[in-house]
Amino acid sequence: MMRNLHVKEWGIAFAALFALSLPAMAETAPGDVAFADGAVEQSLTGGAGDAENGRAVFVDRSLGNCVTCHANSDVADVPFHGEVGPTLDGVADRWTEAELRGLVVNSKMIFEGTIMPGFYVKDPAPRVREDLVGKTILTASEVEDVVAYLRTLKE
């Protein structure tokens, strides 16, 4: 009994400590993202993303791998752009920041039945590879980085 109580108290103390020292921990969990007409107003991390890293995530095969489906002149240095999705040149002129965030988090909220994966969705379909169960393709901060990068794609 005594012991259990101690553990619990420590737990509360730790939680309080984290809340104080890391305000950025107010990260939105995959299931809690609030959509309005397919758009997501709130930054998933509470902060602004890093466009430069977003560009890296965009081309990286194991991360966004966006080039697999989308052509994008800004990354012309990367070979082989796919043509499954529309070209992303000038995408920031077509969509607001909130819409771009919605598109990266879960584009199915705007394009029903699209082939484009939801990058911040847990276990969207059956038979997810075992080591990926419960995981999203991108982390919250990677999503924000990609959104910041897409915001730079103006015509």
Binding site: V84, R129, L132
Partner: protein, 282 residues
């Protein structure tokens, strides 16, 4: 909701334009082997989701296409030769070869075009691999071959070649019907962390580039296929496995009921095409 629909139709328009204007390297090429032209594009049969059925050969580069046009250059032919040797080789407790019972392998012309098919003896939808192993164990008293073994690939290639140029002709009725339906269901189910179905890539996007890959209709009339990437011949199941893995999903086990159902359904989507075994891919 309204905005969702507008966005969707705009995107559909973009996608439609891409598909309609997509001209790919081999689109107008003809597959001629030994002076014989093989059908690689045909009007789709009734009930098909396609308007035309197109062989995977048409989507490949000139260099890869050329390898399949000349049997001396086709690396799959080495397996065929091995298969022909195995056809004559006695094996197992009965000391018999395939040839002892079946005579000339040419007698199997048409078999590959009908695979997979319902088998009374096996009491299941049978693949070529299963028919071969049934004969090995039941008639020869020999060990079954592993699905992806050199022997099995060589034999399925050698038997498959006997049907080259013959139209795909799989039965999807009778006892095969429930298998076909199961296969169709799997084909349209999204799998894995990337949430893709077979149809997302091979029905909605054939003709489009997926990074460096030119998406085909995912037809199986050329299997087993020699893949330069594999450096060897591979079965239908190996290809399906790779495609499900690309969804970051758990593939069906080789030889499982799901694989067989999928094989029947995909084979039926190629009705109108002809057998091209052994075909060559990059």
């Amino acid at each position: 909701m309204k905005r969702t629909m507008i966005a969707t139709s705009a995107a559909a328009l973009i996608a439609g334009l891409t598909t309609a204007t997509a001209v790919f390297a081999g689109e107008e090429d003809e597959l001629v082997i030994d002076g014989e032209t093989l059908v690689t594009k045909a009007p789709a049969p009734e009930g098909s989701p396609f308007s035309e059925v197109i062989s995977g050969w048409r989507f490949r580069s000139d260099e890869t296409q050329a390898l399949q046009m000349d049997d001396f250059d086709n690396p799959g032919m080495i397996y065929v030769d091995q298969g022909l040797d195995l056809w004559e080789a006695a094996d197992g407790s009965e000391g018999k070869s395939c040839a002892d019972c079946h005579g000339d392998i040419a007698g199997f012309a048409g078999l590959r075009a009908a695979m997979p098919k319902w088998s009374e003896e096996l009491g299941t939808l049978a693949t070529m691999e299963e028919l071969i192993n049934y004969s090995r164990t039941e008639h020869m008293g020999a060990e079954p071959w592993k699905w992806e073994s050199n022997e099995m690939l060589s034999m399925t290639a050698a038997i498959g070649l006997q049907s080259r140029g013959m139209p795909v002709d799989v039965a999807t009725d009778g006892p095969a019907e429930t298998w076909w339906e199961k296969g169709r269901e799997i084909y349209y189910t999204r799998f894995g962390q990337l949430d893709f179905s077979c149809a997302n890539c091979h029905e909605d996007n054939y003709g489009n580039m997926l990074r460096a890959d030119h998406l085909s209709q995912g037809q199986i009339n050329g299997f087993p296929v020699y893949r330069l990437k594999w450096g060897g011949l591979g079965s239908i199941d190996r290809r399906f496995k790779g495609c499900v893995e690309d969804t970051r999903g758990v593939p069906f086990a080789v030889g499982s009921d799901e694989m067989k159902a999928l094989e029947l359904y995909v084979a039926s989507r190629g009705t109108g095409l002809v057998i091209e075994t052994p075909s060559v891919r990059q």
